[in-house]
């Protein structure tokens, strides 16, 4: 067993362990990787509703009269002009255009913002923000240690969320939440942020809560959601869920030596807004054409390609698998790969531990998201 004594915990760590979840070290936290099993948990979110403890994410609060312009100078997407409650997905880049992290930026008030970054990059982003803090006009406060984060994801997530005692009377507000918007709420022990966001490709919500509210809310959701089949979901299914809808994961599709244009999140890069860190490099790359791009592969040979497998086109090494697994929904091995931009056709293969497996390029994404519109809409498969 790994030594867990130095790992951080969440208000739910004890609950996970008591339920027999398999716990693993992840980004400095002791986190549940699975409860019942990844396939059952994956299906639960696709078909019903699942709960995730993702308290390990970092929450950095930014305020002050210069906050809006300052955040805009550091991220690739445009946050200025966002209405209160709006959420913006963005990358934060190095001057050379490499991605430091991808993140959500919430506009909570006129001059009040929250940046939500990946746990694995939390320290790096905290330090980066501090280093770029202007002498005045911006306040930065890292409240990650005080904020718990519970995701409620799946076609029945709206129904379940509205059953929460603390949100009684706010069903209309929950209903009014469009994808990538949020509202704040006075919870029992402090401010909640209720957000129509997620990392599963399903209709879903994320609840930012004071630590002290987390366990009661988690247990209430499971109790009130029993008839809906609500279940806790571990990090393993979180990964397969995001993979099928081709959401980037830092450390896989995103890295410091990969630009957002290469990673396929160019829609979150606004080159025409004000200057921002990395803009010049990204303008140049866009002008010259990206050298690499992310493609979707279906492995037709017998085996599963995983991160690090080389990708071959007509026998030539053209890139590397960034994420690969067996897709629980499509029931076949699939992979995302970062390859030379020129690759579009040819005899494709992946090298899996010395064995060459045939594969073919398929359309993006593997599975269409149902984050907007009918939560039970017919899905498109690639």
């Amino acid at each position: 067993m790994s030594d867990s004594s130095s790992l951080k915990t969440t208000p739910l760590t004890g609950w996970h362990s008591a339920q027999g979840a398999r716990m693993v070290p992840y980004a400095g936290f002791e986190m549940p990787v699975q409860y019942e099993g990844v396939l059952a948990e994956h299906a639960c979110v696709r078909e019903k509703v699942g709960l995730f403890d993702i308290t390990h994410m970092g929450e950095l609060f930014v305020g002050g009269p210069q906050a809006e312009a300052w955040i805009d100078s550091l991220v690739t997407n445009r946050v200025s002009g966002a209405s209160i409650g709006k959420i913006v997905y963005t990358a934060m880049c190095r001057p050379d255009g490499g991605v430091l992290d991808d993140m959500l930026v919430y506009r909570l008030g006129e001059a009040e913002w929250m940046i939500v970054c990946n746990a694995a990059n939390h320290a790096k982003i905290g330090a980066w923000l501090k280093r770029h803090l202007p002498a005045e006009g911006v306040d930065l406060e890292d409240r990650s240690d005080q904020v718990a984060l519970i995701a409620v994801q799946g076609p029945d997530s709206r129904e379940l969320l509205c059953r929460l005692e603390a949100l009684a009377g706010r069903a209309a507000d929950v209903d009014a939440l469009k994808f990538y918007t949020s509202f704040t709420h006075a919870g029992p022990r402090g401010q909640w942020i209720v957000s129509r966001t997620g990392y599963t490709g399903e209709h879903g919500y994320e609840l930012y809560l004071p630590n002290g509210d987390a366990l009661a809310v988690w247990e209430e959701l499971l109790t009130r959601g029993a008839d809906l089949g609500a279940a806790p979901i571990g990090l393993a299914a979180r990964d397969t869920l995001r993979f099928e809808v081709c959401y980037c994961l830092y450390g896989h599709e995103l890295e410091e030596d990969i630009t957002p244009l290469e990673a396929g999140i160019g829609w979150a890069v606004k080159l025409k807004k004000n200057d921002f860190t990395g803009r010049e490099a990204l303008v140049t790359q866009k002008g010259e054409g990206v050298p690499r791009r992310i493609i979707c592969l279906e492995i037709t040979g017998r085996g599963i390609a995983r991160q690090g497998s080389r990708v071959l086109c007509d026998g030539q090494d053209v890139g590397v698998v960034t994420s690969g697994t067996f897709s629980p929904t499509l029931k076949k091995p699939l992979a995302m790969a970062l390859v030379d931009a020129s690759v579009s056709d040819g005899e494709m293969a992946v090298d899996v531990r010395g064995r060459s497996l045939d594969c073919r390029i398929v359309s993006f994404p593997f599975l269409s998201a149902r984050t907007k519109g009918d939560p039970r809409a017919e899905r498109t498969l690639s």
Binding site: V38, A236, R302, T325, P333, R353
Partner: protein, 125 residues
């Protein structure tokens, strides 16, 4: 609870000897550690291997494990059912989820394997 009708390996495989044929599978512990198994690759019937050779792979959603041959010999049967339905290895690893059968070429190798008590100790029981 480790059944004492068979032998075990450090790699968490079990070996059930009937006459000169060994039936081989992975233990409950191994299946649990791997998680949901989605792909099993087994060797060709008729091929011959030595003890310790890699003869196949077992893949779960999250991980891949090699299948090592615990005893030398010729592959005389593979479990087609687990190739078609890999989840059998999770649901019944010790019986219906068996993987392959080997005709022993050196019966003395069986004595090198762990008995149930020793395997139980390996598991920390």
């Amino acid at each position: 609870m480790v059944p004492d009708d068979r032998k075990y390996t450090q790699e968490h495989e079990w070996v059930l000897i009937e006459d000169d044929v060994a039936t081989i599978g992975v233990t409950d512990f191994a299946a649990g550690e791997l998680g949901d198994i989605v792909f099993v690759e087994l060797p060709e019937i008729g091929s011959e291997f030595s003890q310790g050779d890699t003869v196949g792979t077992i893949e779960s959603v999250k991980a891949v494990a090699d299948l090592y041959l615990p005893v030398s010999g010729e592959i005389v049967a593979i479990n087609e059912a687990v190739v078609d339905s890999p989840e059998l290895v999770n649901s019944d690893p010790m019986e219906d989820g068996w993987l392959l059968k080997v005709k022993l070429s050196d019966a003395a190798e069986v004595d090198q394997l762990m008995d149930a008590a020793a395997y139980g100790q390996l598991l920390g029981g």
